[in-house]
Symmetry: C2
Subunit: 342 residues, 2 copies
């Protein structure tokens, strides 16, 4: 692609259910200009994240994309212009690029960071060496606080966050059980991501029974990416003083009107459970410390991963809607420009 | 009462709803004998507690009373026989006496403690100088962890636990809002228990609106003794990083079949809330430390209280069922024998 235009994927309509490609359109305008201290990225990969459902929903959220604005997204790109004395052209940076060809970035913004492409493929800076692993790291270790020997249950266990949770829990000496959708993903869980066992929720008639069978004494930590009926069931299977990390709510398509479920407070009381919500951004001042652990584990071969890369910016809306149908295996990325490191 | 028999209130049928007097019967047998290290208490006050609903329910609980057994209960009595070298006849002790005239107690059991009747009336050793205040103390300070200047919301705000929560929150420099049932209890909240404002849920058509009005910026801590619909509403009104202490579930009459409510995980996620269950017994090794704080506050006139004392052991089942109809004001006790300190 040699072009002097910037294509941007714009949110045209807020979602009242799962994201569909029709909510977005692509427009083209000129490549933006930078000011003092800023850099211009030529984006190489941008991402499609389960949390985006919330960002574009009609229901109130922690982060929101306005209609008419470029869709927010993590991305990694190469610096093609710099007015920041600490950044050179040719450097690679991760930041909130949005779904577009080129992005103006303030390198000092929290969560923005320079990428060393020698640690792993550039794409992993958005996944197993980036946000997915960071989400797993802080959610599991800071909120879930598992102890060696404890049993950790993970939903969307083969996904980019879930697979990192399972592997970090293993590294910390925990027993790990995964819940995933499909036989191939269940196989990945045990063969690639080190889970002690995996439950394919799509092929079971009785998830509660399967979960009891996988850990008859219950669960110490539940890292939850889905919420919904699975959360209700698992809450009843937690051990005393168990901790539930609420990282995502993928199982609920629509929050308006408010959906109902089982009342959980009695189980919470009887078993002294903790249910705690978690958003990665709150830990952005500590990303570098976490990444030094994650790089080490990656170099030691303890952090396997899968990626699912769509080709071309225009594929981003489709990639996003596919996420909620469970079509992807691993980190869902969109390649916007050719990866010069490959 | 001069008798050489021991009357005991026995659970005859497990509850499948709120406790009713018909679940219990009184039997009479001989005064029990003690063994080495034990003491025999002549009980003066025993209690009726909201948590008893769970103890006698058909649904699984953290504590359970078997049918045919003496109903469990806190109680305070005078030592009339001692085979423990550290305990003298005439000492006063709090322990798990059960609903009966006389109880065999092991003074070293966790949660059992000697009472100094000079600090306050003997009855307060089960309330504002005992379990009610201890429940408030640990639930608020250890689970809720309020900071000075934060806003603390309390349900059953005029009750024995709730009124202690409100006052301890005040002592810690918090703004306090109470939810209670009835105008007289709302008056007590603000005039006796120091709440900045009180909401009478029985006289409002729109609890959510009232709660928003009482604290437009939301709540930092919710000390919840009721669960149910109120919990659902409050969860949506919590500030970021808010903490919900689950201390009781009085609003739900029956847990089998499991009742439904609003799904809460999205609010938990967006606002990084913590919902955590709490049972006082878990802190029993630390009662004495807490009581030294509580005695100090009591002596300083910062711990007001109300008591609702029924006369005679046979009134215990009625007192318990009255609790759930909100008939009592303050700590619900049953006087089993005359109080020699009055």
């Amino acid at each position: 692609m040699t072009q002097d235009k910037n294509r941007r994927v714009i949110l045209t309509t807020r979602a009242s259910g799962l994201p569909t490609p029709e909510l977005f359109t692509i427009i083209e305008d000129s490549i933006p200009t930078i000011e003092d201290d800023q850099i211009l990225l030529k984006n190489i990969y941008v991402s499609a994240d389960p949390g985006m459902k919330g960002w574009i929903s009609k229901a109130k959220n922690y982060a929101s994309v306005e209609t008419g604005a470029t869709m927010s997204s993590f991305g990694v790109g190469v610096v093609i212009k710099s007015q920041n004395s600490n950044v050179n052209e040719g450097d690679y940076f991760v930041g909130n690029t949005g779904w577009q060809d080129y992005s103006v970035i303030n390198p000092d913004d929290p969560g923005t960071r320079k990428v060393n492409p020698s640690v792993g493929p550039l794409s992993t800076s958005l996944g197993v060496l980036g946000h997915s692993a960071l989400t797993a790291y802080f959610g599991l270790l800071e909120i879930g606080q598992p102890l060696a020997g404890e049993t950790v249950l993970v939903s969307t266990a083969a996904g980019s966050v879930g697979s990192a949770v399972g592997q970090i829990a293993n590294i910390k000496g925990c027993r790990t059980i995964g819940i995933t959708g499909g036989k191939e993903k269940a196989r990945l869980c045990t063969e690639e991501f080190g889970y002690d066992s995996a439950i394919d929720y799509k092929s079971t008639q009785d998830l509660e029974k399967e979960l009891k069978g996988a850990s008859p004494n219950g669960y110490d930590v539940y890292y939850d990416n889905v919420g919904g009926r699975t959360l209700d069931i698992v809450t009843g299977l937690m051990k005393q003083n168990g901790r539930i990390v609420i990282c995502g709510t993928a199982a609920t398509e629509e929050w308006l009107p408010p959906p109902t479920g089982m009342r959980l407070e009695r189980q919470v009381l009887i078993n002294r459970l903790q249910i705690k919500g978690f958003i990665l951004f709150d830990f952005r001042e500590r990303y570098e410390d976490a990444l030094s652990d994650i790089y080490q584990w990656f170099n030691d071969g303890k952090m396997n991963y899968r990626e699912d890369i769509s080709e071309g910016l225009e594929k981003a809306p489709n990639a996003l809607s596919g996420l909620y149908r469970g079509e992807n295996t691993g980190r869902c990325l969109i390649r916007v420009h050719p990866d010069p490191t490959l």
